[in-house]
């Protein structure tokens, strides 16, 4: 049951990852990151290996469909998502709520993306985007809480 759900939700997250490119973003750089709601739902309800699988799967499939596979932005998103999955799962284990885990996951995701980006372009100037990313990331983190809670409600009803 969990394996089937994981497959379906990786497909859903990949779809969100692809479609959210079309949603206007207030900065010229970045995206909303609503596909991370699926990772948040997994971090709250399943062991770490599942949330890492979803984080890696949605980034891989989303990047294949958007033609960005193995490009520098792909690596930034890939490692950012996995770092967020680890942090969110750990925080849920320490009895943090959805809001705290989502905001922390978003911040870690952005920070890791900047670190990978700085490493790839060999320049620290990419960090100038970080403060704005932390603020906008917190807004989408709250939206992700609502989406993840909806997934959880559906999951409970299915059970």
């Amino acid at each position: 049951m969990v394996t089937a759900l994981t497959a379906v939700l990786i497909a859903v997250a990949s779809g969100i990852y692809f479609v959210e490119n079309l949603i206007p973003f207030p900065l010229p750089v970045g995206r909303w990151g609503f596909s991370n709601s699926v990772v948040l739902f997994y971090a709250a309800n399943f062991p770490l290996k599942f949330s890492i699988t979803v984080a890696a799967g949605k980034t891989l499939i989303g990047a294949i469909f958007s033609g960005r596979i193995f490009s520098p932005p792909f690596f930034m998103g890939f490692f950012g998502s996995i770092a967020a999955a680890i942090v969110e799962t750990m925080l849920f284990r320490f009895k943090f709520g959805y809001v705290g885990a989502s905001i922390a996951g978003s911040a870690v995701n952005n920070l890791v993306q900047m670190i990978i980006g700085a490493f790839l372009i060999k320049s620290r100037y990419i960090f100038s985007f970080l403060p704005l990313f932390l603020i906008i990331g917190s807004i989408s983190a709250l939206a992700n809480v609502y989406i993840a809670k909806t997934f959880e409600k559906i999951w409970r009803e299915l059970q």
């Binding site: 033609g67 520098p72 705290g100 885990a101 372009i121």
Partner: protein, 120 residues
């Protein structure tokens, strides 16, 4: 899982402290002066310094990756070869701003002015 736990306050406070630290840094140490000279870096290496207005093609491995337009005060890039064109969407940058193109490993920024030290 709970929607909100008392522990979540620590996360929000930590984020506020980080955001305030960035702002504090920006308004104290980060308040630098810039010249009207542009620096172009590829892969972390300075490849070009531009101080005259004009249109400058930028090459990486002998292939044109973008075109830089400099009007003497502001700069922007057009016709980039990257897929997302984020560097183009940044638009005109003023001193203190940066154009960053991750796929092409390109950074364009205004050169920082040297401190005008006065000695007795």
């Amino acid at each position: 899982m709970k929607l909100f736990s008392k522990k979540d306050v620590y996360v929000i406070l930590a984020l506020l402290v980080i955001a305030l630290s960035f702002l504090l840094y920006k308004f104290t140490y980060g308040n630098k002066k810039y010249s009207n000279t542009l620096e172009v870096f590829i892969n972390g290496r300075l490849i070009m310094e531009i101080d005259k207005p004009g249109t400058y093609p930028i090459y990486k491995d002998e292939k044109r990756i973008t075109t830089l337009i400099f009007n003497g005060k502001e700069a922007k890039v057009v016709d980039s070869t990257c897929s997302l064109k984020i560097c183009e969407k940044i638009g005109w940058i003023k001193p203190g701003g940066e154009i960053i193109c991750v796929p092409n490993k390109l950074v364009i920024k205004f050169k920082e002015s040297k401190i005008d030290a006065q000695t007795w």
